[in-house]
């Protein structure tokens, strides 16, 4: 059993790492990481805009965004992927690689989830910060830019990392539209070997475990450091509200 696993790794490590690159599209673990990093990088600004819209006093901004967030939280990611697979080529009129379809879906999905985190982070700061900033002559946007967001976003770094972990796990769903990622590479290996599915998928699980476990570990270390740093500054409520924030981001 262990011999089989070592043999599979020896024969197929390159396929699992970068897919068929350079003879074909980049795939494997490299693509999984690029896809998740890109989606989180793009989802981040989207989530701040969505959170600001949800906190806005204009119903015209607040209601559609609230609806969007509830829809994305109530519909399976798989269903959203199917939607993008159908709509993105229709709207752009071009043959879009499945990588970009998946990227679009993840940006919308994680953007909606992260916006809840950002919103909770802003609300957790309490109204006093905004009042004080306004009293000192900041405009609403200026106060957000210089006073509220820097504090809120700093407190949210651990939740961001756990969202990144969630994104890595979500990229596996690209399998249904044939995104050439790690899961896809593993199933290719499985199709070539045919006889050792358990070993192949065990390797797959182990790789995901190693990545996600270490990132979660990093998040926990940073969380403790931030909690210590802010203990004197923010009221005692804040660790509790941060825990709440983590509950929202943690998805299977």
């Amino acid at each position: 059993m262990i011999g089989d696993i070592i043999n599979i790794i020896k024969d197929y490590w390159l396929l699992l790492l970068i897919g068929q690159y350079p003879n074909g599209p980049l795939g494997g673990l490299a693509n999984t990481l690029i896809l998740s990093a890109l989606s989180i990088a793009l989802a981040f600004p989207v989530s701040i805009l969505l959170a600001l819209a949800r906190l806005s006093k204009w119903g015209l901004l607040r209601w559609p965004v609230t609806a969007l967030v509830y829809i994305t939280r109530g519909v399976p990611l798989l269903m959203l992927i199917l939607w993008s697979y159908f709509l993105v080529p229709l709207l752009t009129g071009a043959d879009v690689p499945s990588f970009y379809t998946m990227l679009t879906t993840l940006v919308i999905y994680q953007g909606a989830f992260l916006s809840e985190v950002v919103r909770a982070g802003i609300v957790a700061l309490g109204p006093g910060q905004m009042d004080a900033a306004r009293a000192l002559g900041h405009s609403y946007m200026g106060a957000m830019r210089f006073i509220i967001l820097p504090q809120a976003l700093y407190n949210m770094i651990p939740s961001m990392i756990s969202t990144f972990v969630a994104t890595i796990k979500d990229t596996t769903l690209g399998y249904v539209i044939n995104v050439p990622d790690l899961t896809f590479a593993a199933s290719q290996v499985n199709n070539q070997l045919l006889t050792q599915p358990f070993q192949v998928f065990l390797i797959l699980a182990a790789v995901y475990y190693a990545i996600c476990w270490s990132l979660t570990h990093v998040a926990n270390v940073i969380e403790r450091r931030i909690a210590r740093k802010r203990a004197g500054v923010v009221s005692r409520q804040s660790p509790a509200s941060l825990a709440q924030v983590k509950v929202i981001t943690e998805q299977p």
């Binding site: 109530g74 798989l78 899961t183 199933s187 599915p197």
Partner: protein
Amino acid sequence: MNGFDLSAILRNQEYVAMLVHGIEMTFIIYIGSWLLAMTLALILLCIRFSPSRFGDRAVAAYVSYHRNVPTLVQLMLWYFGIFTLLPSGLADWLTAHNAETIFAVIGLGLCQAAYFSEDLRSGLRSVSPGQMEAAKALGHSYLSAMRFIILPQGVRNALPPLINHSVSLFKNSSLAIVIGAPELTHAVKEIENLSFRTFEIYLIGTVLYLVFSLLIMGAGAYFAMRADPERRARA
């Protein structure tokens, strides 16, 4: 492709029957895995609170595995991997009895048990130790303090994440399509292939998922309200 026409699907009895069957299977998978997850979570919780250090480590490893490996990969490992390792008698029996659905329930249930047990554990830990000491000082035994003082507060604290994870379990039941379980997403894909009315059937599928998710969220919020004595007193 003709214009937008929902009735083309909703008036077609064959399609409606497929949708209804899909919804049924989705709920069988959801309820089955929810019950399995909750039962396992309680067992895991008991092991965690028992004094055995080995048990504690084992449960921590179980939780860590199920939280850090994507659910889809866990399902694939069950269906494509472990299924092939089973003795042939058992494998034949499973094949004859909807192996896809059974493995979806097992895979999702085991995965969700890790989340549920962590939710319950952090809920119980958020009850301050002073509560137990006070209860004992007032003459409660350990068990009766647990029953009347600690558990009611701990479970109430655990309710919000439990509700969140119950909703995500419902959404995750759609992953069963990858191992071929005939649930709602599967029905949607099949009707799409038969009718070519992609937009309409996706819309129906999305609305169904959304309605059921919101119903679960609503039911959860109702339970949370019922469990909160302060709010119950006000209502």
